[in-house]
């Protein structure tokens, strides 16, 4: 585990260094660049709030990918699950008139169910017919995309635009006045707390429960899991359902927290960023939380950097890409670390050796 933390930290450091080199090569000062990037994300309460809010859907999508991955599944359909979960929640929020606490609970539930439903299909296909979940969940992404494309104008049409859903009323929004005021009008919302809660719950399920033990056993070796009496097919379907459910709640945070309506024709990029977040977070829930916050910082700081300097915002994207690259090729970093350790040990032992000789 420690090893993985080191790898992730190295990946971040290398990514930032590479970003600095890119800035230098394009004739900019990396120190000013980075200081504006940081300021953009953290300068004042409002910016901090926005950074946290940007990170929130990423926490969910990262958790979703990481949970599936720990149980041997590659859920690449998080985008579709976010979208459909968000859509279900919006439908509930727009059609029911209930007190805020109750309505939000129902919306989160609807989001979970929507996302889970979207992920159960690939899970079922995998369990029953051994269809690879990468293929089927990508297909589900596009089914979600076109379903929303049709359903939003047909049932939840906005007041002014055909291409978006009606704005959610205040009672159906995760934004609450005390948070908005505390962060000087930022769009931070309750989604963040749900995300932290989800992190804790997922971490607990994976590490401490017999349920998590079963899911991981199936993920590592379904033959051995079957041998030991674990219901393998049920585990695969449940894993996908939970992974999709987490993504679905992320959809609620995205469309009923950060935003207040759904735009059609957009597959949320947060879904795919989840893969990167999970990778950098070494598929550990707490790691996912931290890496999502870091990505949130980069995303929300890059606009400010662009406004204050000539550095193109694509530099921030490049940094993210390079970090992902290093996290994905963790074996290289592990080798580097091992080499450093060995060199140190050798130096020490030969020093000792010489000491003895004398």
């Amino acid at each position: 585990m420690n090893n993985k933390i080191v790898v992730s930290l190295f990946a971040v450091v290398f990514g930032l260094l590479a970003g600095a080199i890119l800035m230098l090569v394009t004739g900019h000062n990396p120190i000013t660049g980075y200081s504006y990037l940081l300021e953009g994300g953290l300068k004042n309460p409002e910016r901090i709030g926005n950074t946290l809010a940007t990170a929130t859907p990423l926490i969910f999508s990262g958790l979703s990918v990481a949970f599936a991955f720990r149980t041997g599944l590659f859920n690449i359909g998080v985008a579709g699950q976010l979208l459909f979960g968000g859509f279900c929640a919006s439908a509930v929020g727009l059609s029911l008139d209930l007190p805020k606490a109750l309505l939000l609970t129902l919306m989160l539930l609807a989001g979970f169910v929507g996302g889970a439903l979207w992920a159960v299909v690939p899970g079922f296909l995998k369990a029953k017919f051994n269809v690879h979940e990468v293929v089927s969940s990508i297909m589900m992404n596009w089914i979600a995309y076109w379903t929303i494309y049709y359903a939003v104008p047909a049932y939840l049409k906005g007041e002014f635009l055909e291409t978006e859903s009606k704005a959610l009323p205040d009672t159906a929004s995760l934004k609450v006045s005390f948070l908005t005021e505390m962060f000087d009008g930022s769009y931070i919302n309750l989604g963040l707390f749900v995300a932290v809660l989800a992190t804790i719950i997922i971490s607990f399920i994976i590490n401490k429960t017999t349920f998590g033990y079963e899911l991981k056993a199936v993920g590592h070796n379904r033959h051995a899991a079957e041998y030991s009496g674990i219901a393998v097919n049920r585990s695969i379907i449940l894993s996908m359902a939970i992974s999709g459910g987490i993504a679905g709640i992320g959809g609620v945070a995205l469309y009923a927290g950060n935003a207040s309506n759904i735009q059609i024709g957009i597959l949320p990029s947060q879904g795919f960023d989840g893969i990167a977040v999970a990778l950098l977070g070494a598929n550990a829930p707490v790691g996912v939380l931290l890496s999502a916050l870091f990505f949130g910082l980069l995303y929300s700081g890059r606009g400010f950097m662009n406004a204050m300097t000539d550095i193109p915002p694509e530099i921030a994207d490049s940094i993210i890409a390079i970090i992902i690259y290093f996290a994905a090729t963790s074996i290289l970093i592990e080798r580097l670390v091992r080499w450093l350790i060995r060199r140190k040990a050798n130096a020490k032992s030969s020093a000792e050796h010489e000491g003895k000789v004398k």
Partner: protein, 509 residues
């Protein structure tokens, strides 16, 4: 002395474990040199160092008298060292030729095409010269395991290897194929090659090898000439104490019928009946051995009894209760223990720790979990108990990944896990495959001990010797049918051999 390879004072340490500690092995030109040691003694590590997969921490390697640094397998190839791994490294849907030339393909059309013809001609020549009898155009998935091994040997010869390392080459072979391998090795020696063979089968060392280096717990015990040394002496060097080859056991006292299989038919993986109308009883306090050539319905029987495969017809009773259609977990709860044939596929979750693997079938029970929450301390305590009493050696004890254990220690962990659950029916499939004599002796004792505790044991083994030594009764299968049932004390290897070939015993003869 003319040595091809000298490995001098090799030391290699992994986290928490010294795999090789000051090991020396010298290979003479033109000899077959056996490397003998228990599971986890450090044989594979030593050979991996010679083949460049690991770097030694200390010590030197000389090839043809010159000190060399073998930093990776390519360097080893260039030095004329070739290795045939225990688990073959072949692409199943490539032809023999394609597999052999992979990485060093002869080119044509200015490097755009591969000159398969030239390659297969060379392979044919090599195959003929060494009596390997390999068809260069056959697809690997279509040829027998024995031939796949010969393809691996050809691969090293094609790369002009002078020194061949064979890692447990006989583990996967039938007796006939083993004989053939012996012949091939003699041919190779006659052509000036030198061979290191890793093994723990003493009989084969006696049959094939000229000299033998014995290592124990990472240290060299000595190198001996094979001819004047007895099997018992080599076993003692390897294990560190006298090993009894004879299994001591008191006569069995069979009690109630524990397992009753009634006209069971099972379809195998190819969707044809692998087991036909099979009936068998196993009583408490006895060991019933199943003898037969591999693939004659043994796996289908076991999978149908344990619930891994559905029965087509017939029924299975455990203690009088029908379990034919029960789930796997229900059968485990009802008292079936199963030491599976393939420890890495079925027996272990390789990426789980030893502790997690020890509770693979009981994690959901108290005290290992309560209300769905795992109790790590209890799990660890239980694992340590099994690790201790079954002598499972690993780098980091209960926290070691199962993957990091040697094959023999993986097997001991599985056997400990199954026997400690104290099942009323213990099914042991090939329980000692690939293990050294010390471990085999120990495992046999535990199986007999389980029987003496009044439990039923069903043993499946391809080693006739093992079936005959351990079992009280022997059921012989051929093509999915029960050919006959004999008392182990009243039969001979010859009789069972004939039955295995499908010759039914004359009643009353």
């Amino acid at each position: 002395m003319d040595y091809v390879v000298e490995m001098l004072n090799i030391r290699k340490e992994f986290t928490g474990i010294v795999a090789n500690d000051d090991i020396t092995l010298c290979l003479k030109r033109g000899e077959i040199h056996a490397l003998l040691g228990e599971n986890g003694a450090g044989k594979s590590t030593l050979m991996s160092i010679l083949f460049g997969m690991y770097q030694a921490d200390r010590g030197a390697i000389k090839v043809n008298g010159k000190e060399v640094r073998i930093t990776n397998p390519n360097v080893a190839n260039e030095l004329g060292i070739g290795m045939v791994h225990q688990h073959f490294k072949l692409v199943e849907d490539f032809t023999v030729t394609e597999n052999i030339i992979m990485g060093i393909e002869p080119r044509k059309w200015f490097g755009l095409g591969i000159d398969i013809k030239k390659a297969s001609k060379k392979i044919s020549e090599l195959s003929e010269r060494y009596g390997l009898n390999v068809d260069p155009h056959a697809k690997v998935e279509d040829i027998s395991v024995g031939m796949q091994q010969r393809v691996e040997i050809l691969k090293t010869l094609y790369r002009n290897a002078d020194v061949l390392i064979l890692d447990e080459p006989t583990a996967v072979l039938t007796p006939q194929e083993i004989e053939e391998l012996g012949r091939i090795m003699k041919n190779l020696i006659a052509e000036g090659k030198s061979i290191i063979i890793i093994t723990h089968k003493l009989k084969e060392i006696k049959a094939f090898a000229d000299r033998c280096t014995v290592i124990r717990r990472g240290k060299t015990i000595g190198t001996v000439d094979v001819a004047p040394t007895s099997e018992a002496d080599m076993a003692e060097m390897m294990v560190g104490r006298r090993v009894s080859f004879k299994v001591d056991k008191i006569p069995s006292v069979p009690g109630e019928v524990v397992l009753k299989v009634e006209s069971l038919s099972v379809k195998n993986a190819k969707k044809v009946l692998g087991l036909k109308n099979f009936s068998l009883e196993v009583r408490a306090g006895e060991i019933v051995g199943i003898a037969g050539v591999e693939g004659n319905g043994q796996s289908d029987l076991i999978e149908a009894v344990t619930g891994l495969r559905k029965a087509e017809s017939g029924s299975v009773f455990l203690n009088g209760q029908e379990i034919t259609n029960k789930s796997i977990r229900e059968r485990i709860e009802a008292g079936i223990g199963h030491i599976p044939e393939d420890r890495q596929k079925r027996g272990l979750v390789l990426d789980y720790t030893l502790a997690e693997n020890i509770v693979l079938e009981v994690y959901h029970r108290e005290p290992y979990s309560r209300k769905g929450i795992l109790k790590d301390a209890k799990i660890k305590q239980y694992a340590n108990q099994i690790i201790e009493s079954y002598d499972v050696r690993s780098g980091e004890g209960a926290a070691s990944l199962a993957r990091s254990l040697s094959g023999g220690n993986q097997q001991k962990a599985i056997i400990g896990r199954e026997i400690e659950r104290d099942p009323i029916l213990l099914i042991a499939v090939q329980p000692t495959r690939g293990l050294d004599v010390g471990s085999i002796e120990y495992i046999h004792k535990r199986l007999i001990g389980h029987r003496d505790n009044g439990k039923a044991v069903l043993l499946v083994s391809l080693e006739l010797q093992e079936v005959m030594n351990i079992s009280d009764r022997i059921a012989v299968v051929n093509q999915g049918e029960l050919i006959g049932l004999v008392q182990a004390s009243e039969t001979s290897e010859n009789e069972i051999g004939l039955m295995m070939a499908g010759v039914k015993r004359e009643e009353g003869a």
